[in-house]
Amino acid sequence: MKQLGDLAAVFAYLSLLTVGGGMAAFPELKTLTVDVYHWVSFPALLHFYSLGQLSPGPNMMMVASIGAVVAGVPGALVALIAFFLPTGLLTFAIGRLWIHLSTWRWRPAVQTGLGSVSVGLVLAGAIVMGRGALIGLLYAVLAIAVFLLLLRTKINPAYPIIASGLIGVLAHWLDITPT
């Protein structure tokens, strides 16, 4: 029960940080799940995050994986509900108020101001993730290749990400990867 309570508290807290996307919460996600509670190792967190990018639906369904690692199916359910309920209620309430806010003088300021801060948080998340994931030249090259491909084409991101995985397997077969 204690574990379910911890899961609920952690993911409800993380939920409120997802401004601009799930990546904005990544630095705190790493600190809490890896360093504070030791639920998963940092590589495992990166693996779940990446698998979550390949799974359909919202891109942070990987919170279910962490919940499941900690406390099985109930853990997955608690993590999911905790992660979506607080922001869900907020969105529901603001969604109904929004029409009244359309003439509010501060609305453009809030949208623009929070916009730049959320890009900053996503950047911080990307740096934290990059430090863990880009552990050799090969991986840095893969990340840059995927970045350029997605920037210039409209290809479904799942394909280049799966291709990166296969290149990782190939490199392992050829014995040219670190670890």
Partner: protein, 192 residues
Amino acid sequence: MSDPVSAPAPPSLGRIFWVFLVMGATSLGGGVVGYLRTGLVVRQRWLDDVTFVELLSISQTLPGLNATNMSILVGDRLRGWRGAVLATLGMCLPGGTIMTIAAFAYSIGGDDPWSKAFLHGIAAGAVGLIVVVMVQLGAKVLKTFADYIFVLATAAAVVIFHVQVPYALVAAGAVAIWWHRPRRKQDGSDPK
């Protein structure tokens, strides 16, 4: 609801659940917003493009993921709170099930060197994806030189000075909102 959508009759709750379930199961590879637009605006015609963009801008401003925030807002517009709950459930059910199964599979085969090689590879690819998403988000919201300073200051606070994300969010957010505060232009050309 005091604000009905222009569509003639709102769809049934079961229909809402089903349509969101299908989108939740087929929106592979991120970019769920594109799938939402195709599903809601083009196929079902539950929303027009103007409303879609309006709801999307709410979703992006508030905390929470775009996909679930959109499910809540669209579900509420169509059928009140029950619609919001069923739309969100449908959106999350397939991915949540898959990622729960993935956790069990990982505990069995995650330590195998071959799966590790694959997982390290996709993690590197995912970094590339995140940077693209960030660049696209930035292209939309960063307009002045000061905005780029806010981006760098926020990221530096978190990564270099280890400021906890909520403090960075509140502090940088307050400064950035104040910077963009509403004021009358001196030259009299008040935008909007």
